[in-house]
Symmetry: C2
Subunit: 243 residues, 2 copies
DNA sequence: GGGGTTCGTTTCGCTGCCGACACGCCGCTC
DNA sequence: GAGCGGCGTGTCGGCAGCGAAACGAACCCC
């Protein structure tokens, strides 16, 4: 499978910073492959060297850590347009795993070519750094959730942030419904809750009229109210780089 | 106050990557001031624009988020040599605050000069990105702690990681004791615990013979055992950039 | 020397969340 | 169509951790 960056279906969606022709040519140049992986596939394995970065072209993925006894913490979710594996590529051994949550398509960017941007395309190199900083800001927010929010606030915050991110991608319907592929186990692992308590908390929010779910689709009744329940008010950045 | 990068007391400590003469000159060039702040001072204010980055020259600091109702989550601790405020400088409004935990000395690096490195000194620009990725890895680890470790494991993990970081700086005595300026409130805010439970957990670990404290100094009895209690086994990177 | 502040420590009752378990639904595969 | 695995739902008892409150020690500054 191949797909030129000139035909990228993601770039025209409006949330990505315009690129100069020369930059787009460079991006197209360092993109060596376009691969598809099924749900559950390991994109980066913890402890191994990770000589490639990826741009998530379609589908969902997540970064996670596992304790020796098996307890798992999901660090953040990755959506189309996100740069995957910067941190993993930086160190000799990845400190976390990355797994495909749904079927995904990935643009493969060899590490050495990405590092090469620093010498040849300073603007794109800066964008790499920017994307790294943004990922950190998401992990920050998740840490604040898990550390200081109640179970209901956490669930609400997770749903609101994902809603906003998906919305910018143009993947939310007019009635505020969107594809939501997380299982309750994923939600529990992301929020530092048990599976059972996650279920009860979801039921409670549903009973409160915050949202409805229908096989894999989530519909928000009132995003503003959910935001208030979540104590979450940050906006996602309206425009961002895409590499 | 001024201090040339040529006389930097930090750089010779052995944990920092050697720099070329030209790079050192550039660093010295973009360092515009050397300032001292007292404990408790705000280094970066949440919500405000942050036109400067800093390198922490001496002392401790921390990044944190505050919920509207005052609950506070400490995201990570900053030690000498750490680059401060990369994420804050990247966005229009800082999404977190940074506060001096002890008295600190800071090297002031204006944002525009740091961004300038991307055009002129690709090696140093890469180092900036590396330092950002490393900070993210620390936040990752903290999120895994808060989400999945028990109170005792969290406290142990916090102490072990700080011990390892301080040790690389050469600030740990032969008997494994070092300066430990955190109050129990800081520990609680970092670990997502209440103050009272933090106190009890510290007492428990002390009773187990993990460590002793004596006005602001913490002494580890057996770092290996503490590591095992913490379920924490990663090594800090032996060498890293200093800007 | 007195009064204020910061920090650590402890007590007490309470609850949010956990862990184990069981059950029902659905879609898959053979 | 039978069996099976993945997922959501509920129940129950238990405990880890919470919140409020009070007190002592150390340190500070008039």
């Amino acid at each position: 499978m191949q797909l030129s960056c000139y035909e990228c279906a993601l770039r025209p969606c409006g949330m990505f910073k315009p690129v100069a022709a020369e930059e787009l040519a460079t991006i197209n140049d360092i993109k060596k492959q376009h691969v598809a992986l099924p749900a559950g596939a390991a994109i980066v394995r913890a402890g191994e060297d990770s000589p490639q970065l990826f741009t998530l072209y379609s589908g969902w993925a997540f970064r996670f850590k596992t304790l020796p006894d098996g307890r798992r913490q999901i660090l953040n979710f990755l959506l189309p347009g996100d740069l995957i594996g910067l941190q993993a590529a930086m160190f000799d051994a990845a400190l976390h795993g990355i797994e495909a949550l749904t079927g995904v398509q990935l643009c493969v960017l060899p590490r050495r070519d990405v590092w090469g941007l620093f010498g040849t395309m300073p603007g794109l190199a800066f964008d790499v750094t920017w994307l790294g900083a943004r990922e950190e800001s998401i992990v920050d927010e998740n840490l604040a959730s898990v550390g200081r929010r109640t179970a209901a606030e956490r669930v609400a915050a997770l749903i609101v942030t994902l809603y906003k991110r998906v919305k910018l991608l143009g993947l939310v319907d007019d009635d505020d419904s969107f594809d939501f592929p997380l299982t309750q186990q994923h939600i529990a692992d992301a929020l530092g809750l048990s599976l059972v308590h996650t279920n009860k908390t979801l039921a409670k929010l549903r009973r409160m009229g915050m949202f409805t779910t229908h096989n894999g689709t989530l519909t928000l009744i009132n995003p503003r109210v959910l935001e208030r329940v979540a104590l979450y008010f940050d906006e996602e950045m309206p425009q961002r780089p895409l590499i």
